[in-house]
Symmetry: none
Subunit: 208 residues, 4 copies
DNA sequence: GATGAATGAGAATTCATTCAT
DNA sequence: AATGAATGAATTCTCATTCAT
């Protein structure tokens, strides 16, 4: 697969990247709806308002579509997290920031995140590894924030599992959050999840 | 679709149900590995050591396979939860029991649970509704336990979201738990997750 | 490619091999007409009076069709040559026998031979090697006969090139022989080619 | 198809014909490698270092590429044969000259000749006829030389078949001649083939 | 003169399913 | 009860070609 090389800069005509982004957005929508395997190139083409073969001008195939979506998503998460954390030093506040960043990103790019959750194991070989690297970079960034919350002698193992559970809380919400009907704003939800993680359900209730 | 009627008792030859169970187990393994859409009946047949057309003796088609796996899974969760809770009255202990039950079930039926998480929205119409009903029954049972933890005036809305987050924590673990390598036992993990939910990360760390 | 393993015995239902042979005949006709690349599976299916997907019951794909035709052809040539040569010891007569065998085979299986000539370099890897081995076995058998014609100190290099030229004469005839119109019988043609090779054009003319 | 009209002079910009020749050379290489049907315009463009659509400035389409290559090849053979034969009157020497001319041409334009051998029947209608006319002109020229070798009462039928066999010998060599490895020079090969045709294998061996 | 974008037609192949046996 | 044969529909992808720029 030459998926990776395609990610490298290939200056093409102006507007090329815009249209490609448009295609990726449309694809994410379809993938989110019916999954990678359930999605047909025909449907993607329809969603992107392109001809079926037109897709292959922007992308080498279905796999590359998935790759670009996933890589881009995790890369954005890493980047935006770094930016959000600048100048924030209080450990609790750092966690709150990370959760808020995650949930906002989720809310604004629900389709993409869903694709990252559902079809994480679909890619293979180099493409899988490239996504995995970004994903781990993001996980480690959050893991470090969690670790710094309780510095005195908490094992890495403990904080690792806690981080994994935190991500469970955060990521699962695509399963129950229905943008249209829900009455919780993203920031409120993030605050609630931060509190739940930091102080637990009962403690939180006392203070709320 | 006549998926639902097929679930009703149709006494066939002796051993029929055993073989059907065997088929469902094999199917769950394949679905868990490559997803519903990615799975071919041929591969399922191979995994179940049946001929391709032999499958259609036990089941009306691919959709019914998914239906039976999902319905059975949520139904088992509801049933086993009820049995586990018998005689347990302390609210915290009831939650611990529920979590333990969930995680044990998860651990022993990882394939099926993964199929329930990944391909939740694949079924349609009656089959979807039937599964949804069992799923909600299970959710409500746990939701009630959560609600009873903080009886004085916590809004249903709050406890609902807390329950959803709890399920996120619990269900996400198929994404990171590698049966072979992990050093946490299921019960230890359940205990940790219960503590995390009840007292939060910091509180837990103090007492551990 | 699993092309080679498929050639191994796989006892299937009775009649399977008959139908497969029928398919191969039809395929050879199409390949001979428009070449391997120019042939569509649709057209092959039509020629074989099978549904498009029905082909895939007998054969793993287009490549295997080509492989089976070519392997079978060279294998038959080797086998029939051996049988024809039994009990023939005069060197000139042995050559005449070989040429006659070749041309008869050609005449009766024009399509297949054409496919062997035109699309010799299409197959790859193991399939190519397997065909090549049979092809070389056949070439060597004829080469040996040629070598035995002039035993006293003719270099292998000379006899090799002479054999190659002989095959040129023999094989090229699919380019000019039109079964319908031609007035030469296969055996007459073979005799003429043998004489040409052995004695040259002028010598032959003197005696004819 | 307007293939034929395009061959007529259409004075375009200076350098046009040079570039077109370059394109034809590149095309012949690709056609020789993978055949007409196996060749894609994309690959031809890459080989010619042109943009895909740039090809259509020089040529009306894929078919015309094949047409030009084949027509040009047979036309060159006719022309160069005529020139070579000037002043040569000995019948045997005339044949030797014709063979030498053919093999030299072959050696220097292996790709083109291969395309003429393999994809002879691909063109249709007018384009096919135009090539066929040149091809026949060439065949007849050689046929006449062969006929003159044994003037006294050899039937045209006999000499026709002998000529066809001669062409078999000559043309087949693209199947076995590997420019890199072979130790025979083109002229030596031509001499050997002339001798083989004139005196046969055994006679030749006596004198060599 | 040259090319990137775009596309309709068609390619090989796989799919879930049916049915005669 | 069980299965091999068969198929229509749909899959991803490539093709030669056109056209606006």
């Amino acid at each position: 697969m030459t998926v990776l090389t395609l990610h490298a800069e290939q200056k093409r005509s102006p507007g090329f990247d815009d249209k490609r982004l448009h295609l990726l957005k449309a694809t994410a929508k379809v993938f989110a709806d019916v999954g990678y395997d359930g999605a047909s190139m025909r449907r993607i083409a329809a969603e992107a308002e392109l001809s079926l073969s037109g897709i292959y001008h922007y992308v080498s195939g279905k796999e590359e579509l998935l790759y670009l979506i996933q890589y881009h998503t995790f890369d954005s998460l890493v980047t935006s997290l770094e930016r959000c954390l600048e100048g924030v030093s209080d450990p609790r506040e750092r966690l709150a920031t990370a959760v808020r960043n995650h949930i906002r990103h989720f809310g604004e790019n629900m389709h993409e995140l869903k694709v990252c959750a559902r079809d994480l194991e679909t890619l293979e070989d180099e493409a899988y590894e490239a996504v995995r690297e970004r994903r781990h970079a993001y996980f480690q960034a959050v893991h470090q924030i969690v670790g710094e919350l309780a510095p005195q002698g908490v094992s890495t193992h403990h904080s690792w599992i806690a981080t994994a559970n935190l991500f469970g809380m955060l990521n699962w919400f695509y399963q129950w959050y229905d943008a249209g009907r829900s009455k919780v704003s993203f920031d409120d939800l993030a605050a609630e999840q931060t509190a739940l993680f930091l102080d637990g359900y009962l403690a939180k209730e006392k203070t709320s």
